[in-house]
């Protein structure tokens, strides 16, 4: 059975790029373009991992994480923050809220992201 990835990112192009790479890597992928609908989608899709952007409006990635932490989920996904905001305080905040990994998008290519997620899910 394929692992399921949910990408939460309000950008129009980036999620499609990762969707393609992850699908080629053998994953099932779904995308949600708003922090507002993230929790609802997680409950419905039950992903193994969530790729979460931080700089979203009006509900940012940290708020989504807080919602996830406060919700009763049947299956708890691994949260991987995938953002171009990557200063120490944000990384620390993300980790504190339970992120399994924090990736700065511009510093890493999609195939490396796929590898990192695979490694995480295999742990």
């Amino acid at each position: 059975m394929k692992s399921k990835i949910l990408i939460i990112d309000d950008d129009q192009v980036i999620p499609e790029m990762y969707r393609m790479k992850f699908e080629q890597g053998g994953f099932d992928v779904d995308v949600v373009a708003s922090g507002k609908k993230a929790l609802e989608k997680i409950k419905e899709y039950e992903p193994d991992a969530v790729l979460l952007d931080i700089a979203m409006y009006p509900v940012d990635g940290f708020s989504v994480m807080e919602e996830i932490n406060g919700a009763k989920l049947k299956k708890i996904p691994k949260i991987i923050i995938l953002s171009n905001v990557g200063q120490k305080e944000e990384v620390e905040k993300g980790k504190k809220l339970g992120a399994a990994d924090y990736i700065v998008k511009s510093n890493i290519i999609p195939s490396e992201v796929v590898e990192r997620v695979k490694n995480l899910l295999n742990k």
């Binding site: 950008d11 998008k105 511009s106 290519i109 999609p110 195939s111």
Partner: protein
């Protein structure tokens, strides 16, 4: 002339000189003008006390003195009221309320002239209590009104005291203290007690006014109140010169006249130089204070601009990262043939696009680092780690770039793999990457060598990382410019400086220095390569 007469007349003289000097030096400030007016009115009031209490003036002057005493007494408190709303800066509607009060005051003063309203009659008597017969109603209306003005003015000054700072606050402290003491005693001795038929403190009023002058004088010397150090110097100089002038005029013979005249001239010259020196000192201090204040506000403005600039760079850099992520991501997928194979003719142009994109990402990252450093927001995650791991990571990151130029990065490690330093691994990695990347760019075909050595200085162990290349070298005069932000080494304009903004080495220096280390460069000259040294204190494994 009695002792109290001398006190009264001295108070007249002191206050009138004080008023003149105040007005002359502070006429641009409404508060100071009212203060000068107060001093003048205290002088008139002291003269009125002299007329009423002195045995040397005729009885007919007593009535003039009595009217003058209560007129001037009233006007002192009216001026004090005006002063309180205008010093140090005029309050809201500073004119309207005191103007309305002044109209009431004028009516009260006219009422004093109405027979039987204030004074019922004057008599020839041995003591003051027998000389004046007040109308109690008029007298207590007058007294209540004066007390109201006094209390209102003091409350106004108190409020200002708590809302101001610096010299103004200090000045207000002495003004409140001086006026509260002198005003309370004056009201008590020359209004309340006489209202009760008691005149035993009546002639001490001028003494209280002298206390007032004394406290303000102390403030002048101590805290430059109203910038009156100059005024006070002039005041006391005039008094001294005046005394010697009188001595000269009253000289009994030619010898005394010559001696007193000579002393008068010398004292005058001395006082002239003294006043000039004090004037200059005060003037210089004012200029320095003004400059310091301007500098402070300019500095605050610059800091604000700098913060805004850093925030803008930070925001713009984050926004730039998103499209760069897409370009680089899709290019990598093209190379990985995620969209199927591509024509071999496209490989070179796509590689060039990829290299340019990576270069752009590095520039954006440099800008972000710069904005963090400038904003003081850079934070370090400190831990101890082997220096070898750090150097190995940097060499690994840049080996591809070196290979493209046809050479290798070699590591010469005489320390072994277990020598530790304390620091932020990622930040130090970026800092050393800048140096090695620089060496690769400038190398002319031979390997770039990274050497790890140990140095002991003053009993402390340091680890030195040296990065050597055989590149274009650096002219001696350019070496100090290397670690300066946006530096223009070798006369290159910013448009010719390919591959960087000139902040890489600046970033390196800041990061290394934040780790208690130092970085420097040496070169035998242009065309003879260069070596960059980075030194850290060694530590032990945690």
């Amino acid at each position: 002339m009695s002792f109290m007469d001398v006190i009264s007349l001295s108070a007249v003289l002191l206050n009138i000189i004080f008023a003149g000097l105040l007005y002359f030096h502070g006429r641009r400030n409404a508060g100071i003008v009212f203060f000068a007016l107060i001093a003048f009115q205290v002088s008139v009031w002291s003269f009125a006390v002299f007329l009423m209490t002195s045995g040397v003036v005729a009885t007919k002057f007593f009535i003039i003195g009595a009217f003058l005493h209560y007129f001037a007494g009233n006007l002192i408190f009216l001026s004090f009221f005006w002063f309180s709303v205008n010093y140090p800066k005029p309050a809201f509607l500073a004119f309207l309320f005191p103007a309305a009060i002044s109209v009431i005051d004028g009516m009260l003063l006219i009422a004093i002239l109405i027979p039987s309203f204030f004074f019922r009659s004057f008599h020839v008597a041995a003591d003051l209590s027998g000389r004046i017969n007040f109308n109690p109603a008029g007298f207590w209306i007058y007294t209540a009104y004066v007390v109201f003005l006094f209390i209102f003015a003091e409350i106004t000054l108190f409020k200002k005291y708590f809302s101001t700072s610096g010299v103004d606050r200090l000045n207000l402290r002495y003004v409140i203290l001086g006026t509260a003491v002198a005003g309370s005693l004056g009201v008590f001795s020359n209004l309340i007690l006489p209202g009760l038929g008691l005149y035993f403190l009546f002639s001490t009023g001028p003494v209280f006014s002298t206390i007032f002058v004394g406290i303000i004088s102390y403030a002048i010397f101590k805290h430059n109140l109203f910038n009156l150090k100059v005024i006070a110097t002039e005041f006391f100089s005039f008094v001294i010169v005046f005394i010697f002038f009188v001595r000269f005029l009253l000289a009994q013979n030619a010898y005394d006249a010559i001696v007193d005249g000579g002393i008068f001239v010398m004292v005058s010259i001395f006082c002239w130089f003294l006043i000039r020196a004090v004037w200059k000192e005060v003037h210089d201090r004012e200029e320095i204070a003004e400059l310091a204040s301007k500098l402070q506000s300019s500095n605050a403005e610059l800091k604000k601009l700098d913060t805004a600039k850093s925030e803008f760079i930070s925001l713009a850099s984050h926004q730039l990262r998103t499209p760069l992520t897409v370009i680089r991501g899709y290019l990598s997928m093209i190379f990985e043939e995620s969209f199927g194979s591509f024509s071999s003719e496209l490989k070179t142009p796509l590689t060039n696009v990829m290299l340019s994109t990576e270069q752009l990402i590095r520039l954006v990252n440099d800008l972000l680092d710069l904005s963090r450093i400038e904003a003081g927001r850079i934070q370090y995650a400190m831990k101890s780690f082997p220096i070898h791991d750090l150097v190995k990571k940097v060499a690994g990151l840049l080996s591809g770039e070196a290979k493209e130029k046809g050479f290798n990065i070699t590591i010469v490690n005489s320390l072994g793999e277990h020598r530790y330093i304390m620091g932020d691994f990622d930040k130090l990695s970026s800092a050393i990457t800048n140096v090695v990347d620089n060496a690769i760019k400038h190398s002319q075909g031979h390997n770039v060598e990274i050497e790890l050595e140990e140095r002991i200085s003053a009993g402390k162990v340091f680890i030195v990382v040296s990065v050597r290349d055989d590149g274009i070298g650096i002219a001696a005069e350019d070496i100090p410019k290397l670690f300066v932000k946006f530096s223009n080494v070798g006369g290159k304009s910013r448009y010719e400086r390919a591959g960087g903004l000139g902040i890489g080495l600046y970033f390196t220096k800041r990061v290394i220095e934040d780790h208690s280390g130092k970085v420097w460069a040496e070169s035998p000259g242009v065309g003879h390569g260069s070596t960059f040294y980075i030194e850290f204190p060694a530590t032990t494994k945690n």
